[in-house]
Symmetry: C2
Subunit: 292 residues, 2 copies
DNA sequence: GCTTTGTCTTTTATCGGCAATAGACAGATC
DNA sequence: GATCTGTCTATTGCCGATAAAAGACAAAGC
């Protein structure tokens, strides 16, 4: 079966959405840039648009024939990349299912369960191993170390070191640095969500990641920024599978963020450290509660 | 060609060395434990020992027939695992060769150059990516970020944060913790090398890793301990390919270590921080000098 | 003269297959 | 009764092959 064509399918869907809004399509290279794919894929998309009768396409002449229907899109399951599929499937197993620490992980079994080849599973496990949740015994199986209390404590310990340093670096950014504008934008979304907390509290997860990543980036240190991936994935799945008191928790975190943001703006190192510490402490507590 | 049999070859060599010393061999499971391989491999080794006329083997009766010769061993090139081979080859390219930052890395080319399959190269690159020297463009090539000044500064920034914290944790270890004994042993080796510095200064590299890893382990944090891999690999190849003033540099580092070790023993946090900072600063400077 | 398109080549992502290695289990041996 | 050996099965590590996707280059169009 070789490579999946999910890049094509995903880009196709985004192209149909584009076509739904504006009534014409730009040149091939421009469209490629807009969709983030190569011209080869753009041409495959255009060919298919013609096939399903959405478009006439001859050289530069692209004429939209009708409004797209829901049935023109590829089903969303088919647009995910293999690694996303594996990640979700794997995280469900270890966070939701009864996965005991110390358990062996079997590549072949995982591959069969998801219906893919072993190579993809192996590559996923190698990439995933940097999250500290699994460990390889050479020439033998992987061992699940588990989403335990120790894991959460070790993770948050490093997170706190990194974020305190990043927040301090943030305060030293020159006034014209784009991060300040992004901070304004992020703050505005905080107010928007708080203003309609009952309905919008699930939007917090994504905003949380956006905010903390912005702070970490101020460190200008690739190791610190990369480590944020670990935090992000843990909190991502944590939010997804543990919804007890979600509204209340998120509201509290939003308020803490606002204090934190104000502290960053003040550029006062004592205030920043205080706000940062306070927020990270409550984030850690939330995480720990979900484990025991 | 499937799997290499380097596990067998390496274990075979170690078994021959064992046989050179003691005149008999233990049971299969015991031998497996001693060599760190499965019984399947042990039996393959015993079969080969018989074939080359080093041993008679029938059930429990194992009789050594003669002293091993140099020609009984497999050549060392054949005992390295594929990932070790790729790693060396790759590091030589990016540290020694003219590898410009921003350069593209081609999986197929690398594989052909080393004479192996692409899967192994891919897996290596994925594992290697956590060292922050390369980066993947999805569906496209890897980009070499290069062993630059920025890289060294980012690396040492994190190293210093982690090691200061680990050193502080070390001082809090209970007196009966085995780490103190290991520290004694490490200190003794320091004195031994310093006593014959002219000849033994190349032994420093390995000792350095052993010492700092011991310190990092005191953090009891998997992320801190794992990060030491990044430091270790960088310094390992750094020592290997930059030998200017090596004797002098190593002598200085050994002295700094001794002060650092004494500080750890004192359990005095001010003294520890001071000694640790001082040593890390000079380690950073050495590293930076080798870059520009 | 710059951008677009047609065509072709190169490279990546993924699969199935096979030898090396690990590991399980029952019967044999001390 | 604990450990060892014989035998068999399961799993990993690695390869080559192939479709998807990227990308190079020249000719065409504005």
């Amino acid at each position: 079966m070789a490579k999946q064509n999910n890049v094509f399918k995903d880009a196709f869907n985004r192209c149909v959405k584009l076509l739904d809004q504006s009534a014409s399509l730009p040149s091939e290279p421009e469209l490629g840039a807009a969709l983030g794919v190569s011209r080869t894929t753009v041409r495959a998309i255009l060919t298919r648009l013609e096939d399903v009768g959405l478009l006439t396409w001859e050289k530069r002449r692209k004429i939209v024939l009708r409004k797209p229907l829901a049935s023109d899109y590829f089903p969303t399951e088919e647009t995910d990349s293999l690694s996303e599929i594996i990640e979700r499937s794997f995280m469900r197993r270890i966070l939701a299912g009864g996965a005991e620490p110390g358990m062996q992980i079997n590549e072949l079994e995982l591959a069969r369960e998801i219906g893919i080849g072993t190579t993809s599973v192996r590559e996923f496990l190698i990439r995933f191993s940097r999250f500290g949740l699994i460990e390889k015994r050479p020439n033998s199986h992987w061992v699940l170390k588990g989403f335990t209390r120790e894991f959460a404590l070790e993770l948050t310990e490093v997170r706190e070191m990194f974020e305190l340093r990043s927040a301090a670096a943030f305060a030293r950014l020159p006034a014209e640095h784009p991060a300040w504008l992004e901070l304004d934008a992020i703050e505005a979304v905080h107010h928007a969500i708080l203003g309609d907390i009952e309905n919008r509290y699930p939007d917090f997860s994504e905003l949380d990641e956006r905010f903390h990543l912005l702070v970490h980036r101020a460190s200008k240190n690739r190791f610190i920024v990369d480590f944020y991936d670990v935090i992000a994935i843990v909190f991502h799945y944590h939010y997804q599978w543990n919804k007890t008191n979600a509204r209340q928790r998120n509201a509290r975190a939003l308020e803490e963020h606002l204090v934190y943001i104000a502290a960053l703006r003040s550029r006062d190192s004592v205030q920043i450290e205080d706000a940062c510490r306070r927020h990270l402490k409550s984030a850690r507590e939330t995480l720990l509660q979900s484990i025991n």
